[in-house]
Symmetry: C2
Subunit: 389 residues, 2 copies
Amino acid sequence: MYNFVFQNTTKIYFGENQLCRLGEEVKQYGTRVLLTYGGGSIKKIGHYDKVMEELNKAGLTVFELSGIEPNPRHTTVNKGAEICKKENIDVLLAVGGGSTIDCTKVISAAAFYDGDGWDLVTRKAPITKALPVVTILTLSATGSEMNATAVISNLDTNEKLGIHHPLFLPKVSFLDPTNTYSVSPYQTACGAVDIMSHVFDVFYFTAGKKMDLVDRFMENVLKTVIKYAPLALKEPENYEARANLMWASSWALNRFLETGVSQVASCHAMEHELSAFYDITHGLGLAILTPRWMKYILDESTAPQFKKFGVNVFGIDESLSDMEGAKRAIEVLSDFFFKTLGLQSTLTAIGIDDKNFKLMAKKACKGDVLKGYKHLTPQDVENIFRMCL
Amino acid sequence: MYNFVFQNTTKIYFGENQLCRLGEEVKQYGTRVLLTYGGGSIKKIGHYDKVMEELNKAGLTVFELSGIEPNPRHTTVNKGAEICKKENIDVLLAVGGGSTIDCTKVISAAAFYDGDGWDLVTRKAPITKALPVVTILTLSATGSEMNATAVISNLDTNEKLGIHHPLFLPKVSFLDPTNTYSVSPYQTACGAVDIMSHVFDVFYFTAGKKMDLVDRFMENVLKTVIKYAPLALKEPENYEARANLMWASSWALNRFLETGVSQVASCHAMEHELSAFYDITHGLGLAILTPRWMKYILDESTAPQFKKFGVNVFGIDESLSDMEGAKRAIEVLSDFFFKTLGLQSTLTAIGIDDKNFKLMAKKACKGDVLKGYKHLTPQDVENIFRMCL
């Protein structure tokens, strides 16, 4: 069990009809607001009008950056930073899922940097200051609404990199489950995989000793997703299902689950290569990779933890041997991803061949090994990619 | 499921040897520190010297308020407030358990009030400003280290009242499990009951609909206490046990468990009368009251939740009927309190008779009914007290 420092200051408004508080919350940070969003679905489903109404009521001056991509680009960060500088923006308001929020976080720092925003992501330049960020979440997945992490893609270099900075933590986030009613089954499924993946890739499957209290909560988050994601697919307007998925997404990656745990994230690192090269949905990449990664690293040392996962989360037969239990756990997880959630199960099925595997594997390992539950060499990563064909 | 606002800004340093950060953390709030503590056990076990060394290293000027009582008095609040005013204190540092921290919170506000600090507790005077509070926890029980609540006793009026104010939230809390190695078996047991009681009295047993994610986490906290409290009794220096109890105490009452839940707390209100009249340990009062309260309100409407508690937390037989299961759950909880934890099981055993029951019951109900999972009239409360004889 490791020592840790825990603090998460984000203020959460959870539930329906909380948007009446938006104006006062944004206003405390200034009057010139940059509203950021994605492809415009927020206009189609009416979020945009509601948000604008509240901002106007509060007498705020609103500028806009739309078109933030699902894997947000560094070029979009630069576009946003330019608006911030030119229009003397005081505060950023991101309306969307993890991509929009992530992009907005990096804009908040790039607003104070005179070069290419990508330098901040690669840590070539330090982050020294950032504008406050407020968010309105419309997709339950990344946890970005309550953490200090952002992931940005650079299509010129085929890179997708994560960056963590305390200044990125949103000041306020509005979590209204009804805002996710219109999320498609595919995106709901990908979001569910992302939440689960945060738990078991980043925290649950680790070699180190964890705190029992936290370990159990990880299993809770997983069980919550397993219970409610299928229900949200069946009944997109089921409030209970959407609420549980939303609150689970925040708690899967708001640092509470990291308390006392040594953090590792090999599936996320491998998936970032897939998204960087092929611009696929993060959750889909994770779904395809995770069961293969588990199979690849399955041995006597990892089997007990995989079996425990199967028993405590999926309720598989406890009397199985560690190895049989682990295999069964991987099976039921695959079934959940590919049958229950209906996601595609191979890279081949989504048009990805082995052409770039060697290069992607090398990049994932960053010239070293990819650290994780089991450390992986570039050859290991390439083998795992091949298992996904 | 209710809408909610969640924010908890307390910064937690968890683990051994984190005290090296104390100086820098306190210093950011000023240089004149009021160190508050209880009966002096922190001197006997060496905490005091370590704390003073860090404060001196940081060049801080330290004043002291010692002798804070287990059920802290309003007179002690006034004493502390006087020191703050006279010595121009910038920041308060509480070293102790919930009582010391609670008292320090109210001192932080009383420092800006010219009358009797009790006026702030009774809400006769509003709290408008407060000094920052930093804490070093030495007892896992109340959760005061990570919440904005304080409970103060007035022996003149036989009142023990809770007060909640956002300004009471500690800025920083140091949670070192080894600081609880010297906590006696009795205090460890009482602390464990307090943690459990926060969960099921305040949140778990409610008539309203809860979020599944949060409901499961409540069961986690309970299971964690049930697993580790007996271990801490057997092995007082078991780090894992002390760490799990400590982190559980913070999460049992830091508002996360309240998210989406309607809050009720009838056992706490009844116990406050016991402590107010007889100055007993809060956790002991809760242990004696809780199983009786459960028995008293057991009917067809409450039985399913009590049974669920027994099944999910204590692993009792799921095939029992709701009523049988509920009865069994109350039995195993009683056994846990009075056999496993070894606490005394009746008020008679600790020298309390029925003399004040009528008055206490009336006060608990505050001239109305005592709200809770089942609302209780003064007669109900008196009946429950009598069951404890």
